[in-house]
């Protein structure tokens, strides 16, 4: 299977040989063999639960393999702890912001944090010395920010670049990127790719994990596909991504061809009239008709989440009016919205939708029923089978992989957790369904399942899906609405869309947005 032609005679920088790892009854990694050479960018593709995270965690010393061998430049090593991994030159950059650095410290302090913590500096650190070291580190990857401001003031993209700069500063042999572009706009992602190009020039081996095909096309020298804990196929440049996706999900990917029938554009369901998201933003109009699925796209920070929250009544608009089915719509809080059939599945499921393990009902059934408890159990006591029936229906409609509806959320894979969130808002008929970044950290297979179920239920309601990824927008929407600087800058039917215009509108960051 592994048919890398240009393998040099020299030992690879890192080689996994027949590595296995078992968790309880599941074999997370099944005799995986993998090699990375210096200066090579290897992309790891795989659906949720395929074993990507396990592989990364073994490589970065979080836990040991059950069997098999890991060799660094031909010498067998055992990576027993994250500290050990760093000493061997293995660094991981995670997508979660929590692991990026210390928010309250300055950028300069964050950049030199590893040296400070490792005790490599003198006990008394001069500020000027610190800033000079930090500036050198920042310049190394082309990070151009004010080093004196606190890390938390930076954009997410810049924070991520700080984390990468830290890793690069420690002379890494291998850097692992785990979904690095999940919260980046296209422009920001491009900067990251330039950094990766530099790493390649510096002979650093890069292991790149992402669900986004565009990313992989841009950076990967080689693609390794994991499925059910095994490396099933490996592709060299030029990579046949169609084949890679088939290998990854084990079946052909059908684009969601289920187009909604001709939409009656006569009477709009939801109308936004001269809405301002902020006092300093320009007003805009939007009309959504029953049966329509609209993809609202735009860079992070373009106002997508604000728009969703205003329709849902989390806060009022800074100006303008809304109407729902011809009646004025000015909800005070989500409870009013839910009672009127306006639902929002928020972005970042663990922050906005799911409950941690310490909550007794943090199961599939408990999560799905939570917003509807008052409607389903008006007297208070939780009697009857209503909750179970709704959960079982959701599990079937969305293809949630689980043992049963009492499964705890944290035992599900990311894609299945997301399905639970979307399934929740299908438990009652919606008039307006708002989904904010519903494909975050979701593999292609689960995404297809979600889109199919979304379309199946879309006929009587208005559906708005807020995504920053253009490919996702094109995949899900009948109509594409582009936002920038807290206003709508473009609005086109999918059939007639001018892709170039869409991309330029989304990426210009408002400098020269093509206005409709």
């Amino acid at each position: 299977m592994s048919s890398t032609a240009q393998i040099s005679a020299a030992a690879p920088l890192i080689a996994f040989t027949q590595v296995s790892k078992r968790f309880g009854s599941t074999l997370a990694l099944d005799r995986v063999s993998l090699r990375l050479d210096a200066g090579e960018v290897v992309a790891l593709m795989g659906a949720n639960g395929a074993g990507k995270s396990t592989l990364v965690r073994i490589l970065s010393g979080v836990y040991p393999p059950d069997s098999g061998e890991i060799a660094l430049s031909g010498k067998p090593v055992s990576v027993t702890s994250p500290k050990m991994a760093r000493r061997l030159g293995i660094f991981a950059v995670h997508q979660s912001i929590a692991e990026i650095g210390v928010p309250g410290l300055s950028v300069a302090e964050n950049l030199t944090l590893d040296r400070l913590c490792a005790g490599e500096t003198k006990a008394i650190v001069s500020r000027r010395q610190l800033r000079r070291t930090a500036a050198a580190i920042a310049a190394g990857i082309g990070l151009e920010v004010d080093l004196t401001q606190p890390l938390e003031r930076l954009t997410i993209a810049d924070q991520q670049l700080v984390a990468i700069a830290r890793a690069v500063a420690s002379n890494p042999a291998i850097i692992i990127f785990d979904e690095p572009t999940a919260s980046l706009s296209q422009l920001e992602a491009d900067r990251l790719f330039q950094v990766i190009d530099r790493l390649r020039e510096r002979r650093v081996a890069v292991l790149y994990i992402s669900h986004r095909l565009g990313d992989l096309k841009r950076v990967a020298d080689r693609v390794e596909v994991l499925r059910d804990g095994r490396v099933v196929e490996s592709f060299n440049r030029p990579v046949d991504f169609g084949a890679a996706i088939r290998a990854m999900i084990g079946r052909d990917l059908h684009s969601p061809a289920v187009r909604s029938a001709a939409i009656e554009r006569a009477t709009p369901l939801l109308v936004l009239d001269q809405i301002r998201l902020r006092r300093d933003a320009e007003p805009f109009d939007l009309a959504v008709h029953p049966g329509e699925v609209i993809a609202v796209t735009g860079a992070v920070g373009s106002g997508k989440t604000s728009l969703a929250e205003i329709i849902y009544g989390v806060r009022p608009p800074a100006g303008g009016t809304m109407s729902l089915s011809g009646r004025p719509w000015a909800p005070h809080g989500p409870d009013r919205a839910i009672a009127s059939g306006v639902f929002l599945a928020g972005e970042n499921r663990w922050r906005t939708s799911l409950f941690p393990a310490s909550v007794p009902f943090a199961s599939i059934a408990g999560t799905i029923s939570f917003p509807f408890l008052r409607a389903w159990f008006p007297t208070g006591p939780l009697t009857g089978r209503r909750e179970r029936v709704a959960a079982e229906h959701g599990v079937r409609a969305f293809g949630i992989k689980c043992r049963d509806i009492d499964d705890r959320l944290e035992t599900l894979s990311g894609g299945n957790q997301q399905k639970v969130v979307v399934a929740r808002w299908h438990a009652e008929p919606a008039r307006v369904l708002l989904l904010d970044e519903p494909f975050q950290g979701v593999d292609i297979g689960a995404r297809t399942d979600i889109i199919r179920a979304l379309r199946a239920g879309a006929s009587d309601r208005a559906t708005l899906v807020f995504v920053s990824d253009h490919e996702e927008a094109l995949e899900v929407g009948d109509r594409i609405v582009v936002m920038d600087r807290h206003r709508i800058v473009d609005d086109q039917d999918r059939e007639t869309i001018d892709l170039l215009r869409l991309l330029s509108a989304a990426e210009s960051n408002g400098q020269d947005a093509s206005r409709p």
Binding site: N48, Y63, P334, V359, F370, R374, P381, G399, I400, K401
Partner: protein, 341 residues
Amino acid sequence: MSATETVLASRPHRVLPIREIASRSAIFLLLGALVVLFQFEEPAFLNLGNLFSILQAVSITALLGVGITVTLAVGGFDLSAGSMAAFSQMAASYVLVVLQGSTLDAVIFCLIVGAAVGVFNAILIVFVGIPDLLATLGTLFLLVGLELIPSGGRSIATGAILPGGITAKGSFPADFLALGRLHLGGVVPLPVVILAIVALVVWFVMERTRWGRVFYAIGGNETAARLAGAPTRRYRAAAYVISGTIAALGGALLAARIGRGDVSAGNSLLLDSVAAALIGYAVLGVNHPNVFGTVVGAIFVGVLLNGLTMLNAPYYTQDFVKGAVLVGALVITFGLRRKRS
């Protein structure tokens, strides 16, 4: 990864890892072992009278613990519950002895004061935005100080001389004393019955109704609860009102048991009831605040202290024993739990 053929097969037998089993049943195994040990050493241990005296001894602690459990469920903490009970105990005595009110007057006054203090806590926490621990610590001090002012720092009993030279002429009526001392059917102490009723009601609300779901949801992820339409501020406020009211009821029972308004009564109430609630986390390995666990936790401490007293262990070792139990329970809760990476 095909997800179209979803499995909703019959639930396979779940194999519990040994540490899971240990974590779930640890408290009960320990309790059983203690009972056997005490019974072996002192045959009078397992007689009905002694068992109910244990329950009576822990009833007020458990009652306060139940209220605290509700505040823990919303992600808060009511540190003022112990001083609330002590304050209520003094308030009941003042109504009865100084104002010469009836039993009903005293109990209703206590409950109103308890609810009012709960509202005060709720305002500080929910509306002013002071962190729970700090706000209720402030309330704790206020109550400890306030209970001394009407009686000039003295205990309240018939004949006590109050500031201003007035002599208290009233006394504790028999029906009030019965609240703390009556044994139903000659066996079951009334405070135990009251505890059972309150615990059952709160347990039902927390475990079997949609309101309980909302309490726990707010404690777990307030943002998610709010975005799902739950009135989170109202529920958090309600938790403190419930805790304050239950603590005040506990204080009234305490007054009835002691038979006077004692300025030093209720000193250890807070720590004991917090300990019961925390030990409760470990009961059945649920790892979250729960009413059943709190009551079991209180009983566990009660059994231990009663047995040790029978075995002539000196009184001054009691706090040490309680501390050891609490630390042990916390180790079970947090240490045996499967570590998630």
